[in-house]
Amino acid sequence: MVFVFREALPVLTDPAVRAQAGVSSFFSTPIWQPVGNVPKFGIASLILGTLKVVVVAMLFAVPIAVLAALYASEFASDRFREVLKPAIEMLAGIPSVVLGFFALIVMASWLQAVTGSVSRLNALNAGIALGLAIVPTIFSVCEDALRAVPRSYREASLALGASRWQTAWNVTLPAASAGVGAGVLLGLARGVGETMIVLMASGNAALISPSVLDSVRTISATIAAELAEVVFGSAHYSVLFFLGATLFTTTFLINVAAGMFVERMRKRLAGA
């Protein structure tokens, strides 16, 4: 991974590159226009785009995945579990390019019919498709954590007269909270870095706008869309590697945080 950073380094060191694309220029212009007489590298729109898509994805995926994991571990009959588990595994096995295809060809039209948005491909569409991709990650980590909660916790709660839902919500879920946190963070890391889905489903227009119904361009999609045509060693090339390094650092930090949550969960259960 050192190499990604090495190729990104000119952004910080090379004066010729800095004149065109120094870190200060990243936020001084709102426009991302890397090709032209005066290239403009305003990455604010890309960061905002990434945030919009990821927030939509998390709002979609976290409640569904966590509740479904709770249901699977606390309430579901064995028969339903035998349907749910393979479904989750299949969802996890669907290549992201296929989810991107589905969002681009099918889901975008459905969503446009519902929301009446101007652009068919927008942050909402990409966000939901991305949410589908991270549901399995969050679900499996959460379910493992919920299952690891000792039986005695549940029995103590039930013996005190709590209902099954009260037990699940007030006892089991809090006991597994570190594991749930880890699952959510791992999902977040996957969402930030995922490329094909957002590249295909988001519309890729680098706009700064608050609406999720506008087309967006994310960091990962920018790299994917532009790297093939970029001139080796140019300022643009360095900026794309800089974006890659940013992406790497972000997901790395999120993953490390998730690892700390997992460690905490292990310690808590060992102490119990």
């Binding site: 990604v4 479904a68 749910l84 595994e89 669907i94 992201s96 989810l99 099954r164 794309l240 690892g259």
Partner: protein
């Protein structure tokens, strides 16, 4: 026995306990969330199968794309995908299995180097695939490839996107998968077998090569299949390291570019000159890729299941 008694006790308690209506509703809501996941998977698969199954004929599988990808088949993409994953596995297995054997058999678990390697492997698994693409371009093509070209005085031969570099990039991406599954399999080999071999005077390496690895083969195979399934579906890492929009010929050597199923889907979905004419072909290609991935995953699950059963049967 006590489990059954407890469950019966729960049921009796449930009856005597006052009904918690809100709780029941919320529990139902969590059930709806679970059902929603099943429904969404069914919609996606149903949609792909419904619109795709008519397209997938022998002609479709055996012909090249024609008329700007609005007719013909996907044979070059299938060929490219197969060539890609074979090269990937050839590079991946020795390296991944070697690393797992080292970590599990030789490394001291508390040495800082072992910890560093484990930390790196764990985090390699979380690196976004597009970053692997950048790495493949920056390291394999620009650094190693151009380096070879300079050394042998060739113009541009190795230092360009090709099957080889794409396969190596994918191998790196899948390294954690193989290391983790191989280690799991090594852990499943009973202690007695190891001790029996050592007691017969075999060296440590002879034990590993003749006893442990054959025993761990199903686990290694699982890892290989899972990585093939993942490798066949990943597009981001190969976009700049070797995949081509369209090639009128099949790749002849590892330094050629190639067509690939996932990338072909991306290209047809986003750059088609005639969307309506491409759509049936697009659905067909998606169906082929999905069937391939699911078949591979299912095989891996079955092999792993047998491995687990063997493990349980012993203990």
């Amino acid at each position: 026995m006590s489990g059954a008694l407890l469950a019966a006790g729960h049921r009796r308690l449930d009856k005597t306990r006052g009904r918690d209506v809100t709780g029941g509703l919320l529990a139902g809501l969590s059930g709806v969330a679970a059902g929603l996941i099943v429904l969404m998977v069914a919609i996606i698969l149903g949609n792909v199968i419904w619109f795709g199954w008519r397209t997938v004929t022998w002609d479709f599988l055996s012909k090249a794309p024609e008329q700007g990808m609005t007719a013909g088949g996907i044979f070059p993409a299938i060929f490219g995908t197969v060539a890609l994953v074979i090269l990937m596995v050839v590079a991946l297995i020795p390296f991944g299995v070697g690393a797992a054997v080292y970590l599990h058999e030789y490394a001291r678990p508390d040495a800082w180097f072992t910890k560093a390697v484990r930390f790196a492997v764990n985090n390699l698994a979380g690196v976004p695939s597009i970053v692997f693409g950048l790495f493949g371009l920056g390291f394999f093509i620009q650094f190693v490839g151009r380096g070879i070209d300079r050394a042998i005085g060739a113009d541009v031969w190795w230092g360009q996107p090709s099957l080889l570099w794409a396969a190596l990039t994918l191998a790196l991406l899948n390294l954690p998968v193989v290391i983790v599954t191989t280690e799991e399999a090594l852990r499943a080999v009973p202690r007695q077998m190891r001790e029996a071999s050592l007691a017969l005077g075999a060296t440590r390496w002879q034990t590993i090569w003749n006893v442990l690895l054959p025993q761990a083969l199903p686990g290694i195979l699982t890892g290989a299949i899972l990585s093939v399934s993942r490798g066949a579906g990943e597009v981001a890492p190969i976009m700049f390291t070797g995949a081509a929009y369209f090639l009128p010929y099949l790749p002849q050597s590892p330094t050629d570019q190639f067509m690939e199923l996932g990338y072909h889907i991306f290209v047809m979905a986003t750059q088609s000159p005639d969307v309506d004419a491409t759509r049936p072909l697009l659905y067909g290609t998606v169906l082929v890729l999905l069937l391939l991935t699911f078949a591979l995953n299912l095989t891996a699950v079955l092999i792993r299941g047998r491995l687990r059963a063997r493990l349980l049967g012993r203990s």
